[in-house]
Amino acid sequence: MTPLLSVQGITKRYGNHIGCADVSFDLYPGEVMGIVGESGSGKSTLLNCMAGHLTPDAGQVVFDTRTDGPRDTITMSEPERRMLGRTDWAFVHQHARDGLRMGVSAGGNVGERLMAVGARHYGDIREQATDWLGRVEIDASRVDDRPTTFSGGMQQRLQIARNLVTGPRLVFMDEPTGGLDVSVQARLLDLLRGLVRDMGLSAIIVTHDLAVVRLLADRLMVMKDGHVVEAGLTDQVLDDPQHAYSQLLVSSVLQV
């Protein structure tokens, strides 16, 4: 089977400082991978390099495109990469306001991505947008309201709807549940799990919350100082960590 995403030797430096160094892995269709590590471990740098928001100093990010098969997205032309960002890729930001257009209605936020891939029929767009609001449990009566009038949890769900409406195959998520109430987190986790399963999505989730990766991710990478120190099945890495740092990380979680 061809990997959906094959990352090889990704390195990013900020001057003399290492962002992330020599990261390689393959992600297969339907797999969810978690990346954990403390602040400054390079996990967000890595995510942004893979998603095309940062240009790495070395390495390849090969994506299995629908039309041309595996292509290195780093050497791809800018318009091609942007097209990918609107169709097969999605990016869920930690702060919903980074991923939403706050001055546009909720329906408009979802519809905009559909229009970007060529949808023109207003009725269809509105219908699909309303359908997606329902799927992320936002009441249809709020379709014309701006996200500024939404709570943090609703904004995050709206961002997810906006991202998934075009049926992407790969979703990058940066702390998708960060900054939300635990009760809202739980619903969001359940929602994400259902969407991943029903749509056969692959996802890469960056978080520092080990409970979130245990529930969402099949595989896990532990990063420290820009390097991947351990990788494997999520439950194996969490229950039987091999590296000194992963052992410290797992044993540092507070019990409720």
């Binding site: 797999e31 009760s183 739980a186 986790l189 529930l215 099945l233 039987d240 000194a244």
Partner: protein, 227 residues
């Protein structure tokens, strides 16, 4: 169906003076389809550890663990994920679920993962919950607030939702009353009858005698405990 060859395991505790603990040394045995084997030994002998190694939850330092032809010790994560979805079931001692998900969906989850339509999966889940005497008024609630015995039964229902060809059962009858214990034992017997290979840990001797064909004393393979 399940075969262990010269399997050994050590834990290295890097943050506690790099202590190295040998847990299992050189275990070999196999379990055929339709057979149920009990792991026995005193508390701390490594029964649960060995079971977790077979599930791929703990890493194995040496040897081979073959399940349906796949060596868990060397397998890629995605191969283990596929094996767990299709072939290898595991009923742990503790229920771990996404909070706020209804019990019926928790039990139907393994079937949904196999691509079985929602109504069919929920039908099977409902039948199992009924068999295990979980009152229907609880089905729409999350099991996180259930009693210990109820959680254990939800866990068992989930573990038996799909007819796995190989199953690992970690104390499936603990904390159950006599009636429910009987139900669980008959579920195990049904699984054996359809050809599942089962490895179980049972502290309850009567239960062990009823469903298990053989016993393996894990204590014999524990360095420091065996003489």
């Amino acid at each position: 169906m399940i075969e262990l060859r010269d399997v050994s395991k050590t834990f290295t505790l890097h943050n506690q003076g790099s202590a190295v603990i040998e847990v299992i040394n050189d275990v070999s045995f196999s379990v055929a389809a339709g057979e149920c084997v009990a792991l026995t030994g005193a508390s701390g002998a490594g029964k649960s550890t060995l079971m977790r190694m077979i599930y791929g939850n703990y890493l194995t330092q040496a040897g081979k663990i073959l399940i349906d032809g796949l060596d868990i010790v060397q397998a890629q994560p995605r191969e283990v994920i596929t094996l767990r979805r299709d072939v290898l079931g595991y009923v742990s001692q503790f229920l771990r679920v996404v909070p706020r998900v209804p019990t019926l969906d928790v039990v139907a989850e393994p079937l949904r993962a196999l691509g079985i339509p929602s109504d069919q999966a929920q039908g099977r889940a409902a039948a199992l919950l009924e068999q295990l005497n979980i009152p229907q008024r609880l089905w729409s609630l999350s099991p996180t607030t259930f009693s210990g015995g109820e959680q254990q039964r939800v866990n068992i229902a989930r573990g038996f939702a799909h007819n796995y060809p190989a199953m690992l059962l970690d104390e499936p009858t603990a904390s159950l009353d006599a009636a429910n214990r009987k139900v669980v034992l008959s579920l195990i017997e049904d699984a054996k009858a359809r050809g599942a290979a089962i490895i179980g840990i049972f502290h309850d001797e009567a239960a062990r005698d009823r469903v298990c064909d053989r016993e393996i004393d894990v204590g014999r393979y524990t360095p420091g405990i065996a003489a």
